[in-house]
Symmetry: C3
Subunit: 204 residues, 3 copies
Protein backbone atom coordinates (compact mmCIF):
# COMPACT_ATOMS: atom_id res chain seq x y z
CA UNK A 1 0.00 0.00 0.00
CA UNK A 2 2.72 2.46 1.06
CA UNK A 3 4.66 1.15 -1.92
CA UNK A 4 1.89 2.07 -4.38
CA UNK A 5 1.49 5.51 -2.81
CA UNK A 6 5.28 5.91 -3.07
CA UNK A 7 5.24 5.28 -6.83
CA UNK A 8 2.30 7.67 -7.31
CA UNK A 9 4.14 10.28 -5.24
CA UNK A 10 7.51 10.08 -7.04
CA UNK A 11 5.72 10.29 -10.39
CA UNK A 12 3.76 13.34 -9.28
CA UNK A 13 6.89 15.00 -7.86
CA UNK A 14 8.72 14.32 -11.12
CA UNK A 15 5.90 15.86 -13.14
CA UNK A 16 5.81 19.01 -11.02
CA UNK A 17 9.62 19.24 -11.14
CA UNK A 18 9.47 19.19 -14.95
CA UNK A 19 7.69 22.52 -14.88
CA UNK A 20 10.43 24.00 -12.68
CA UNK A 21 12.98 22.82 -15.23
CA UNK A 22 10.88 24.31 -18.03
CA UNK A 23 10.84 27.68 -16.31
CA UNK A 24 14.65 27.60 -16.53
CA UNK A 25 14.57 26.66 -20.22
CA UNK A 26 16.28 23.35 -19.66
CA UNK A 27 16.57 20.76 -22.41
CA UNK A 28 14.97 17.32 -22.15
CA UNK A 29 17.82 15.80 -20.24
CA UNK A 30 17.83 18.67 -17.80
CA UNK A 31 14.12 17.99 -17.29
CA UNK A 32 14.86 14.35 -16.45
CA UNK A 33 17.69 15.22 -14.08
CA UNK A 34 15.64 17.80 -12.18
CA UNK A 35 12.81 15.27 -11.99
CA UNK A 36 15.08 12.55 -10.62
CA UNK A 37 16.69 14.87 -8.12
CA UNK A 38 13.32 16.15 -6.88
CA UNK A 39 11.57 12.79 -6.69
CA UNK A 40 14.43 10.59 -5.51
CA UNK A 41 16.90 13.10 -4.03
CA UNK A 42 15.48 13.16 -0.51
CA UNK A 43 15.81 9.42 -0.03
CA UNK A 44 19.24 9.51 -1.66
CA UNK A 45 20.57 12.14 0.74
CA UNK A 46 19.08 10.24 3.69
CA UNK A 47 20.80 7.04 2.54
CA UNK A 48 24.13 8.82 2.12
CA UNK A 49 23.92 10.37 5.59
CA UNK A 50 22.86 7.15 7.29
CA UNK A 51 25.16 4.89 5.21
CA UNK A 52 22.15 2.90 4.06
CA UNK A 53 23.05 1.24 0.75
CA UNK A 54 22.21 0.36 -1.96
CA UNK A 55 20.11 3.30 -3.12
CA UNK A 56 16.44 2.55 -3.83
CA UNK A 57 16.88 3.49 -7.49
CA UNK A 58 19.96 1.29 -7.88
CA UNK A 59 17.90 -1.68 -6.74
CA UNK A 60 14.84 -0.52 -8.68
CA UNK A 61 16.09 1.25 -11.83
CA UNK A 62 12.48 1.21 -13.05
CA UNK A 63 11.87 4.17 -10.69
CA UNK A 64 14.28 6.18 -12.84
CA UNK A 65 12.32 5.25 -15.96
CA UNK A 66 8.91 5.97 -14.38
CA UNK A 67 9.96 9.39 -13.12
CA UNK A 68 11.71 10.32 -16.37
CA UNK A 69 8.63 9.22 -18.29
CA UNK A 70 6.37 11.24 -16.00
CA UNK A 71 8.54 14.34 -16.34
CA UNK A 72 8.70 14.21 -20.15
CA UNK A 73 4.96 13.57 -20.30
CA UNK A 74 4.37 16.59 -18.04
CA UNK A 75 6.53 18.71 -20.35
CA UNK A 76 4.42 17.59 -23.32
CA UNK A 77 1.15 18.46 -21.60
CA UNK A 78 2.39 21.55 -19.76
CA UNK A 79 -0.71 23.54 -20.61
CA UNK A 80 -2.94 20.82 -19.13
CA UNK A 81 -0.70 20.56 -16.04
CA UNK A 82 -1.51 24.16 -15.28
CA UNK A 83 -5.19 23.40 -14.90
CA UNK A 84 -4.33 20.42 -12.67
CA UNK A 85 -2.43 22.68 -10.29
CA UNK A 86 -4.59 21.81 -7.30
CA UNK A 87 -4.40 18.08 -7.97
CA UNK A 88 -0.61 18.24 -8.04
CA UNK A 89 -0.53 20.31 -4.88
CA UNK A 90 -2.47 17.50 -3.18
CA UNK A 91 -0.19 14.85 -4.68
CA UNK A 92 2.79 16.82 -3.40
CA UNK A 93 1.23 16.75 0.08
CA UNK A 94 0.81 12.98 -0.32
CA UNK A 95 4.46 12.70 -1.33
CA UNK A 96 5.62 14.73 1.65
CA UNK A 97 3.76 12.47 4.05
CA UNK A 98 4.64 9.17 2.36
CA UNK A 99 8.35 10.05 2.00
CA UNK A 100 8.46 11.19 5.63
CA UNK A 101 7.00 7.93 6.95
CA UNK A 102 9.34 5.84 4.79
CA UNK A 103 12.28 7.89 6.09
CA UNK A 104 11.20 7.34 9.68
CA UNK A 105 10.78 3.62 9.09
CA UNK A 106 14.28 3.25 7.68
CA UNK A 107 15.92 5.08 10.58
CA UNK A 108 13.80 3.00 12.98
CA UNK A 109 14.92 -0.24 11.34
CA UNK A 110 18.51 0.93 11.81
CA UNK A 111 17.64 1.39 15.50
CA UNK A 112 18.64 5.02 15.55
CA UNK A 113 17.51 7.47 18.23
CA UNK A 114 14.20 9.34 18.01
CA UNK A 115 15.88 12.63 17.00
CA UNK A 116 17.45 10.89 14.01
CA UNK A 117 14.19 9.10 13.16
CA UNK A 118 12.41 12.47 12.89
CA UNK A 119 15.33 14.03 11.00
CA UNK A 120 15.47 11.06 8.62
CA UNK A 121 11.77 11.55 7.91
CA UNK A 122 12.24 15.27 7.32
CA UNK A 123 15.24 14.78 5.02
CA UNK A 124 13.39 12.15 3.00
CA UNK A 125 10.32 14.35 2.73
CA UNK A 126 11.95 17.69 2.05
CA UNK A 127 15.52 17.41 0.72
CA UNK A 128 14.51 16.60 -2.85
CA UNK A 129 12.81 19.97 -3.18
CA UNK A 130 15.84 21.72 -1.68
CA UNK A 131 18.16 20.02 -4.19
CA UNK A 132 15.83 21.04 -7.03
CA UNK A 133 15.93 24.66 -5.89
CA UNK A 134 19.73 24.64 -5.54
CA UNK A 135 20.12 23.22 -9.07
CA UNK A 136 17.63 25.79 -10.42
CA UNK A 137 19.63 28.46 -8.56
CA UNK A 138 16.85 29.56 -6.20
CA UNK A 139 16.89 30.09 -2.47
CA UNK A 140 15.25 26.84 -1.36
CA UNK A 141 11.50 27.34 -1.16
CA UNK A 142 11.28 24.94 1.75
CA UNK A 143 12.89 27.39 4.10
CA UNK A 144 10.25 29.98 3.38
CA UNK A 145 7.12 28.10 2.35
CA UNK A 146 4.02 27.79 4.47
CA UNK A 147 4.15 24.96 7.01
CA UNK A 148 5.94 22.27 5.02
CA UNK A 149 8.93 20.92 6.92
CA UNK A 150 6.85 21.31 10.07
CA UNK A 151 4.25 18.94 8.63
CA UNK A 152 7.04 16.46 8.04
CA UNK A 153 8.25 16.69 11.62
CA UNK A 154 4.73 16.36 13.04
CA UNK A 155 3.98 13.40 10.77
CA UNK A 156 7.17 11.73 12.01
CA UNK A 157 6.33 12.51 15.63
CA UNK A 158 2.83 11.02 15.29
CA UNK A 159 4.30 7.94 13.60
CA UNK A 160 6.94 7.48 16.29
CA UNK A 161 4.47 8.30 19.08
CA UNK A 162 1.86 5.75 18.00
CA UNK A 163 4.61 3.14 17.59
CA UNK A 164 5.97 4.02 21.03
CA UNK A 165 2.54 3.35 22.55
CA UNK A 166 2.91 -0.24 21.35
CA UNK A 167 0.63 -0.19 18.32
CA UNK A 168 1.64 -1.89 15.08
CA UNK A 169 3.68 -0.21 12.34
CA UNK A 170 0.63 -0.46 10.09
CA UNK A 171 -1.59 1.52 12.44
CA UNK A 172 1.18 4.05 13.12
CA UNK A 173 1.62 4.53 9.38
CA UNK A 174 -2.09 5.07 8.74
CA UNK A 175 -2.62 7.49 11.62
CA UNK A 176 0.53 9.46 10.80
CA UNK A 177 -0.37 9.61 7.11
CA UNK A 178 -3.88 10.88 7.80
CA UNK A 179 -2.69 13.40 10.39
CA UNK A 180 0.07 14.69 8.10
CA UNK A 181 -2.20 14.97 5.07
CA UNK A 182 -4.93 16.79 6.96
CA UNK A 183 -2.40 19.19 8.45
CA UNK A 184 -0.77 19.92 5.11
CA UNK A 185 -4.09 20.41 3.33
CA UNK A 186 -5.26 22.76 6.08
CA UNK A 187 -1.98 24.63 5.77
CA UNK A 188 -2.51 25.02 2.02
CA UNK A 189 -6.18 25.93 2.43
CA UNK A 190 -5.65 28.59 5.10
CA UNK A 191 -2.17 29.62 3.96
CA UNK A 192 -0.63 28.96 7.35
CA UNK A 193 2.83 30.40 7.74
CA UNK A 194 5.50 29.62 10.26
CA UNK A 195 6.81 32.73 12.00
CA UNK A 196 9.63 34.09 9.90
CA UNK A 197 12.91 35.40 11.18
CA UNK A 198 13.66 38.57 9.27
CA UNK A 199 17.03 40.14 9.83
CA UNK A 200 18.38 43.04 7.84
CA UNK A 201 21.82 44.10 9.03
CA UNK A 202 24.84 42.91 7.15
CA UNK A 203 27.07 40.60 9.13
CA UNK A 204 30.53 39.44 8.08
CA UNK B 1 45.87 4.14 -22.23
CA UNK B 2 42.51 5.18 -20.73
CA UNK B 3 44.52 6.06 -17.63
CA UNK B 4 46.77 8.49 -19.53
CA UNK B 5 43.77 10.07 -21.25
CA UNK B 6 42.13 10.36 -17.81
CA UNK B 7 45.08 12.35 -16.42
CA UNK B 8 45.14 14.61 -19.48
CA UNK B 9 41.41 15.14 -19.13
CA UNK B 10 41.35 16.00 -15.41
CA UNK B 11 44.22 18.44 -15.94
CA UNK B 12 42.42 20.12 -18.83
CA UNK B 13 39.15 20.30 -16.87
CA UNK B 14 41.01 21.81 -13.92
CA UNK B 15 42.60 24.43 -16.19
CA UNK B 16 39.27 25.43 -17.71
CA UNK B 17 37.66 25.50 -14.27
CA UNK B 18 40.32 27.95 -13.09
CA UNK B 19 38.97 30.52 -15.54
CA UNK B 20 35.44 30.05 -14.14
CA UNK B 21 36.85 30.72 -10.68
CA UNK B 22 38.68 33.77 -11.99
CA UNK B 23 35.48 35.20 -13.39
CA UNK B 24 34.11 35.09 -9.84
CA UNK B 25 37.22 36.82 -8.44
CA UNK B 26 38.15 33.85 -6.29
CA UNK B 27 41.47 33.67 -4.48
CA UNK B 28 44.07 30.99 -5.19
CA UNK B 29 42.52 28.45 -2.89
CA UNK B 30 39.11 29.03 -4.40
CA UNK B 31 40.71 28.36 -7.78
CA UNK B 32 42.08 25.03 -6.54
CA UNK B 33 38.77 24.00 -4.96
CA UNK B 34 36.76 24.83 -8.09
CA UNK B 35 39.35 22.90 -10.14
CA UNK B 36 39.14 19.85 -7.88
CA UNK B 37 35.36 19.90 -7.82
CA UNK B 38 35.14 20.21 -11.61
CA UNK B 39 37.80 17.64 -12.47
CA UNK B 40 37.16 15.06 -9.75
CA UNK B 41 33.61 15.85 -8.60
CA UNK B 42 31.79 13.67 -11.11
CA UNK B 43 33.62 10.51 -10.10
CA UNK B 44 33.25 11.49 -6.45
CA UNK B 45 29.47 11.83 -6.67
CA UNK B 46 29.26 8.54 -8.57
CA UNK B 47 31.28 6.81 -5.85
CA UNK B 48 29.10 8.26 -3.10
CA UNK B 49 25.90 7.16 -4.85
CA UNK B 50 27.18 3.67 -5.63
CA UNK B 51 29.00 3.23 -2.28
CA UNK B 52 32.23 2.63 -4.16
CA UNK B 53 35.11 3.51 -1.83
CA UNK B 54 37.83 4.66 -1.46
CA UNK B 55 37.67 7.73 -3.67
CA UNK B 56 40.12 7.79 -6.58
CA UNK B 57 41.83 10.88 -5.17
CA UNK B 58 42.17 9.34 -1.70
CA UNK B 59 44.07 6.45 -3.26
CA UNK B 60 45.92 8.75 -5.66
CA UNK B 61 46.44 12.08 -3.86
CA UNK B 62 48.78 13.01 -6.73
CA UNK B 63 45.65 13.72 -8.79
CA UNK B 64 44.86 16.54 -6.35
CA UNK B 65 48.35 17.97 -6.84
CA UNK B 66 48.24 17.63 -10.64
CA UNK B 67 44.87 19.35 -10.95
CA UNK B 68 45.77 22.08 -8.47
CA UNK B 69 49.02 22.66 -10.36
CA UNK B 70 47.17 22.80 -13.67
CA UNK B 71 44.61 25.25 -12.31
CA UNK B 72 47.20 27.63 -10.85
CA UNK B 73 49.24 27.43 -14.04
CA UNK B 74 46.11 28.25 -16.05
CA UNK B 75 45.46 31.26 -13.80
CA UNK B 76 49.02 32.47 -14.46
CA UNK B 77 48.69 32.15 -18.24
CA UNK B 78 45.03 33.20 -18.45
CA UNK B 79 45.67 35.41 -21.46
CA UNK B 80 47.25 32.51 -23.34
CA UNK B 81 44.42 30.19 -22.30
CA UNK B 82 42.02 32.45 -24.15
CA UNK B 83 43.76 31.79 -27.44
CA UNK B 84 43.73 28.05 -26.72
CA UNK B 85 39.95 28.11 -26.33
CA UNK B 86 39.35 25.61 -29.12
CA UNK B 87 42.02 23.22 -27.83
CA UNK B 88 40.40 23.20 -24.41
CA UNK B 89 36.95 22.70 -25.90
CA UNK B 90 38.34 19.56 -27.58
CA UNK B 91 40.03 18.43 -24.37
CA UNK B 92 36.72 18.94 -22.55
CA UNK B 93 35.07 16.67 -25.14
CA UNK B 94 37.82 14.13 -24.49
CA UNK B 95 37.17 14.38 -20.76
CA UNK B 96 33.44 13.92 -21.21
CA UNK B 97 33.97 10.72 -23.18
CA UNK B 98 36.76 9.30 -21.01
CA UNK B 99 34.95 10.03 -17.73
CA UNK B 100 31.76 8.51 -19.13
CA UNK B 101 33.46 5.26 -20.13
CA UNK B 102 35.23 4.98 -16.76
CA UNK B 103 31.89 5.53 -15.01
CA UNK B 104 30.24 2.81 -17.09
CA UNK B 105 33.11 0.40 -16.40
CA UNK B 106 32.85 0.89 -12.64
CA UNK B 107 29.09 0.28 -12.56
CA UNK B 108 29.62 -2.74 -14.81
CA UNK B 109 32.26 -4.18 -12.47
CA UNK B 110 29.73 -3.76 -9.65
CA UNK B 111 27.32 -5.79 -11.80
CA UNK B 112 24.65 -3.14 -11.77
CA UNK B 113 21.81 -3.00 -14.29
CA UNK B 114 22.17 -1.30 -17.66
CA UNK B 115 20.15 1.75 -16.58
CA UNK B 116 22.57 2.34 -13.72
CA UNK B 117 25.59 1.71 -15.98
CA UNK B 118 24.45 4.51 -18.30
CA UNK B 119 23.56 6.78 -15.38
CA UNK B 120 26.92 6.10 -13.75
CA UNK B 121 28.63 7.13 -16.98
CA UNK B 122 26.56 10.29 -17.24
CA UNK B 123 27.16 11.28 -13.61
CA UNK B 124 30.90 10.71 -13.97
CA UNK B 125 31.00 12.69 -17.19
CA UNK B 126 28.73 15.58 -16.27
CA UNK B 127 28.33 16.06 -12.51
CA UNK B 128 31.67 17.85 -12.03
CA UNK B 129 30.52 20.68 -14.25
CA UNK B 130 27.18 20.87 -12.43
CA UNK B 131 28.95 21.13 -9.06
CA UNK B 132 31.21 23.86 -10.44
CA UNK B 133 28.19 25.85 -11.60
CA UNK B 134 26.40 25.41 -8.27
CA UNK B 135 29.47 26.65 -6.38
CA UNK B 136 29.84 29.57 -8.80
CA UNK B 137 26.13 30.28 -8.26
CA UNK B 138 25.02 29.71 -11.87
CA UNK B 139 22.14 27.66 -13.22
CA UNK B 140 24.07 24.56 -14.32
CA UNK B 141 25.19 24.99 -17.91
CA UNK B 142 24.79 21.26 -18.53
CA UNK B 143 21.04 21.48 -18.46
CA UNK B 144 21.01 24.06 -21.23
CA UNK B 145 24.15 23.46 -23.28
CA UNK B 146 24.18 21.98 -26.73
CA UNK B 147 24.18 18.18 -26.83
CA UNK B 148 26.39 17.36 -23.86
CA UNK B 149 24.73 14.96 -21.46
CA UNK B 150 23.21 13.28 -24.53
CA UNK B 151 26.72 12.56 -25.83
CA UNK B 152 27.49 10.96 -22.50
CA UNK B 153 24.43 8.71 -22.67
CA UNK B 154 25.13 7.71 -26.28
CA UNK B 155 28.78 7.00 -25.47
CA UNK B 156 27.65 4.77 -22.61
CA UNK B 157 25.07 3.04 -24.78
CA UNK B 158 27.67 2.30 -27.50
CA UNK B 159 30.08 1.02 -24.85
CA UNK B 160 27.45 -1.22 -23.27
CA UNK B 161 26.09 -2.31 -26.64
CA UNK B 162 29.47 -3.41 -28.04
CA UNK B 163 30.19 -5.23 -24.79
CA UNK B 164 26.77 -6.88 -24.94
CA UNK B 165 27.57 -8.22 -28.41
CA UNK B 166 30.41 -10.17 -26.82
CA UNK B 167 33.38 -8.04 -27.87
CA UNK B 168 36.20 -7.24 -25.43
CA UNK B 169 36.16 -4.26 -23.07
CA UNK B 170 39.10 -2.82 -25.01
CA UNK B 171 37.20 -2.78 -28.29
CA UNK B 172 34.07 -1.45 -26.61
CA UNK B 173 36.11 1.34 -25.04
CA UNK B 174 37.75 2.35 -28.33
CA UNK B 175 34.53 2.30 -30.38
CA UNK B 176 32.58 4.18 -27.70
CA UNK B 177 35.36 6.77 -27.30
CA UNK B 178 35.56 7.44 -31.03
CA UNK B 179 31.78 7.57 -31.42
CA UNK B 180 31.40 9.91 -28.44
CA UNK B 181 34.21 12.22 -29.53
CA UNK B 182 32.95 12.48 -33.11
CA UNK B 183 29.43 13.19 -31.88
CA UNK B 184 30.55 15.86 -29.43
CA UNK B 185 32.83 17.56 -31.96
CA UNK B 186 30.01 17.56 -34.53
CA UNK B 187 27.71 19.03 -31.87
CA UNK B 188 30.23 21.80 -31.18
CA UNK B 189 30.92 22.41 -34.88
CA UNK B 190 27.27 22.62 -35.95
CA UNK B 191 25.96 23.98 -32.63
CA UNK B 192 23.44 21.20 -32.26
CA UNK B 193 20.86 21.84 -29.57
CA UNK B 194 18.55 19.48 -27.81
CA UNK B 195 14.93 20.62 -27.95
CA UNK B 196 14.33 22.88 -24.99
CA UNK B 197 11.31 22.86 -22.77
CA UNK B 198 10.35 26.49 -22.20
CA UNK B 199 7.61 27.12 -19.69
CA UNK B 200 6.63 30.55 -18.47
CA UNK B 201 3.77 30.39 -16.00
CA UNK B 202 4.52 30.62 -12.35
CA UNK B 203 3.73 27.47 -10.41
CA UNK B 204 3.74 27.15 -6.64
CA UNK C 1 39.39 19.67 26.10
CA UNK C 2 39.12 19.62 22.28
CA UNK C 3 35.66 18.17 22.85
CA UNK C 4 34.52 21.15 24.96
CA UNK C 5 35.96 23.60 22.43
CA UNK C 6 34.15 21.64 19.70
CA UNK C 7 30.78 22.10 21.42
CA UNK C 8 31.42 25.81 21.98
CA UNK C 9 32.41 26.15 18.33
CA UNK C 10 29.41 24.37 16.81
CA UNK C 11 27.08 26.42 19.01
CA UNK C 12 28.75 29.67 17.95
CA UNK C 13 28.67 28.66 14.27
CA UNK C 14 24.98 27.79 14.60
CA UNK C 15 24.25 31.17 16.19
CA UNK C 16 26.05 33.07 13.44
CA UNK C 17 24.36 30.95 10.78
CA UNK C 18 20.95 31.90 12.20
CA UNK C 19 21.60 35.50 11.20
CA UNK C 20 22.40 34.40 7.63
CA UNK C 21 19.08 32.57 7.56
CA UNK C 22 17.34 35.64 8.94
CA UNK C 23 18.75 37.78 6.17
CA UNK C 24 16.98 35.44 3.73
CA UNK C 25 13.69 35.67 5.67
CA UNK C 26 13.66 31.98 6.49
CA UNK C 27 11.18 30.51 8.93
CA UNK C 28 12.24 28.83 12.16
CA UNK C 29 12.87 25.48 10.59
CA UNK C 30 14.94 27.08 7.86
CA UNK C 31 16.97 28.71 10.64
CA UNK C 32 17.60 25.31 12.27
CA UNK C 33 18.53 23.67 8.97
CA UNK C 34 20.97 26.42 8.02
CA UNK C 35 22.45 26.20 11.53
CA UNK C 36 22.89 22.42 11.30
CA UNK C 37 24.39 22.60 7.85
CA UNK C 38 26.84 25.33 8.85
CA UNK C 39 27.88 23.83 12.18
CA UNK C 40 27.89 20.14 11.30
CA UNK C 41 28.11 20.16 7.49
CA UNK C 42 31.90 20.25 7.22
CA UNK C 43 32.37 17.11 9.28
CA UNK C 44 29.47 15.46 7.48
CA UNK C 45 30.97 16.06 4.03
CA UNK C 46 34.35 14.82 5.27
CA UNK C 47 32.75 11.64 6.60
CA UNK C 48 30.90 11.03 3.34
CA UNK C 49 34.07 11.51 1.28
CA UNK C 50 36.21 9.33 3.55
CA UNK C 51 33.47 6.71 4.16
CA UNK C 52 33.76 7.34 7.90
CA UNK C 53 30.47 6.34 9.51
CA UNK C 54 28.38 6.83 11.56
CA UNK C 55 28.06 10.59 11.44
CA UNK C 56 28.99 12.44 14.65
CA UNK C 57 25.43 13.75 14.99
CA UNK C 58 23.90 10.30 14.48
CA UNK C 59 25.93 9.06 17.44
CA UNK C 60 25.38 12.28 19.38
CA UNK C 61 21.91 13.60 18.47
CA UNK C 62 22.28 16.07 21.32
CA UNK C 63 24.55 18.11 19.01
CA UNK C 64 21.51 18.67 16.79
CA UNK C 65 19.52 19.91 19.77
CA UNK C 66 22.33 22.15 21.05
CA UNK C 67 22.89 23.80 17.68
CA UNK C 68 19.16 24.20 16.99
CA UNK C 69 18.74 25.72 20.44
CA UNK C 70 21.65 28.09 19.87
CA UNK C 71 20.31 29.16 16.49
CA UNK C 72 16.78 29.87 17.75
CA UNK C 73 18.21 31.73 20.75
CA UNK C 74 20.37 33.82 18.39
CA UNK C 75 17.28 34.64 16.32
CA UNK C 76 15.51 35.83 19.48
CA UNK C 77 18.39 38.06 20.53
CA UNK C 78 19.40 39.17 17.05
CA UNK C 79 19.82 42.79 18.10
CA UNK C 80 22.20 41.75 20.88
CA UNK C 81 24.10 39.44 18.50
CA UNK C 82 24.97 42.47 16.42
CA UNK C 83 26.86 44.06 19.28
CA UNK C 84 28.68 40.77 19.92
CA UNK C 85 29.95 40.72 16.35
CA UNK C 86 33.60 40.70 17.37
CA UNK C 87 33.09 37.93 19.92
CA UNK C 88 31.47 35.72 17.28
CA UNK C 89 34.22 36.48 14.80
CA UNK C 90 36.68 35.16 17.37
CA UNK C 91 34.51 32.13 18.08
CA UNK C 92 34.35 31.47 14.34
CA UNK C 93 38.16 31.54 14.27
CA UNK C 94 38.13 29.06 17.15
CA UNK C 95 35.73 26.84 15.22
CA UNK C 96 37.86 26.95 12.09
CA UNK C 97 40.93 25.80 14.02
CA UNK C 98 39.17 23.18 16.16
CA UNK C 99 37.28 21.67 13.22
CA UNK C 100 40.47 21.59 11.16
CA UNK C 101 42.43 19.72 13.82
CA UNK C 102 39.59 17.22 14.36
CA UNK C 103 39.45 16.65 10.59
CA UNK C 104 43.19 16.03 10.45
CA UNK C 105 43.02 13.62 13.38
CA UNK C 106 40.29 11.55 11.75
CA UNK C 107 42.17 11.22 8.46
CA UNK C 108 45.32 10.39 10.42
CA UNK C 109 43.52 7.64 12.36
CA UNK C 110 42.41 6.23 9.01
CA UNK C 111 46.11 6.21 8.04
CA UNK C 112 45.55 8.34 4.96
CA UNK C 113 48.35 10.20 3.22
CA UNK C 114 49.43 13.68 4.29
CA UNK C 115 47.68 15.39 1.35
CA UNK C 116 44.39 13.84 2.44
CA UNK C 117 45.03 14.69 6.11
CA UNK C 118 45.37 18.38 5.19
CA UNK C 119 42.39 18.24 2.83
CA UNK C 120 40.29 16.48 5.50
CA UNK C 121 41.14 19.29 7.92
CA UNK C 122 40.25 21.94 5.36
CA UNK C 123 36.94 20.28 4.43
CA UNK C 124 35.99 19.92 8.09
CA UNK C 125 36.92 23.51 8.80
CA UNK C 126 35.46 25.20 5.75
CA UNK C 127 32.80 23.12 3.98
CA UNK C 128 30.00 23.98 6.42
CA UNK C 129 30.24 27.64 5.45
CA UNK C 130 30.28 26.74 1.76
CA UNK C 131 27.12 24.65 2.15
CA UNK C 132 25.45 27.52 4.02
CA UNK C 133 26.27 29.91 1.19
CA UNK C 134 25.02 27.48 -1.47
CA UNK C 135 21.72 27.01 0.39
CA UNK C 136 21.40 30.79 0.84
CA UNK C 137 22.14 31.14 -2.89
CA UNK C 138 25.38 33.13 -2.54
CA UNK C 139 28.75 32.61 -4.18
CA UNK C 140 30.60 30.91 -1.32
CA UNK C 141 32.30 33.53 0.80
CA UNK C 142 35.14 31.14 1.55
CA UNK C 143 36.53 31.43 -1.93
CA UNK C 144 36.83 35.19 -1.62
CA UNK C 145 37.29 35.94 2.07
CA UNK C 146 40.49 37.07 3.62
CA UNK C 147 42.89 34.26 4.57
CA UNK C 148 40.45 31.61 5.78
CA UNK C 149 41.00 28.31 4.02
CA UNK C 150 44.71 29.12 4.09
CA UNK C 151 44.59 29.27 7.90
CA UNK C 152 43.01 25.84 7.84
CA UNK C 153 45.76 24.42 5.65
CA UNK C 154 48.53 25.98 7.75
CA UNK C 155 46.90 24.74 10.98
CA UNK C 156 46.78 21.25 9.51
CA UNK C 157 50.39 21.48 8.32
CA UNK C 158 51.60 22.58 11.77
CA UNK C 159 49.60 19.76 13.38
CA UNK C 160 50.99 17.16 11.00
CA UNK C 161 54.51 18.63 11.16
CA UNK C 162 54.72 18.55 14.96
CA UNK C 163 53.34 15.01 14.96
CA UNK C 164 55.86 14.01 12.30
CA UNK C 165 58.70 15.24 14.53
CA UNK C 166 57.64 12.59 17.04
CA UNK C 167 55.83 14.75 19.59
CA UNK C 168 52.52 13.64 21.10
CA UNK C 169 49.11 14.33 19.57
CA UNK C 170 48.32 16.56 22.55
CA UNK C 171 51.30 18.81 21.94
CA UNK C 172 50.65 18.87 18.20
CA UNK C 173 47.04 19.85 18.86
CA UNK C 174 47.96 22.68 21.22
CA UNK C 175 50.70 24.13 19.01
CA UNK C 176 48.56 23.89 15.88
CA UNK C 177 45.55 25.45 17.64
CA UNK C 178 47.58 28.40 18.94
CA UNK C 179 49.33 28.93 15.60
CA UNK C 180 46.05 28.76 13.67
CA UNK C 181 44.21 31.09 16.04
CA UNK C 182 47.00 33.69 16.05
CA UNK C 183 47.18 33.58 12.26
CA UNK C 184 43.44 33.93 11.81
CA UNK C 185 43.14 36.77 14.34
CA UNK C 186 46.04 38.59 12.66
CA UNK C 187 44.31 38.06 9.31
CA UNK C 188 41.10 39.58 10.69
CA UNK C 189 42.95 42.43 12.43
CA UNK C 190 45.05 43.46 9.44
CA UNK C 191 42.53 42.36 6.78
CA UNK C 192 45.02 40.13 5.04
CA UNK C 193 43.88 38.99 1.64
CA UNK C 194 45.09 36.16 -0.52
CA UNK C 195 45.98 37.28 -4.02
CA UNK C 196 42.85 37.09 -6.11
CA UNK C 197 42.60 35.75 -9.61
CA UNK C 198 40.40 38.16 -11.53
CA UNK C 199 39.47 37.13 -15.03
CA UNK C 200 36.96 38.98 -17.16
CA UNK C 201 36.60 37.39 -20.57
CA UNK C 202 33.66 35.15 -21.19
CA UNK C 203 34.61 31.53 -21.83
CA UNK C 204 32.23 28.84 -23.02
Amino acid sequence: MLHILYIIAITAEAMTAALSAGRRNMDWIGVCIIAWVTALGGGTIRNILLDHYPMTWVEHPEYLLITAGGALFAALIASVMKRLRTLFLYLDALGLVVFTIIGCQIAEQMQLSIVIVLLSGMITGCAGGVLRDVLCNDVPLLFRKEVYASVSIITGAVYAGVGYLGYSIHLATIIAAVAGLVLRLLAIRYEWQMPKFVYQDEWE
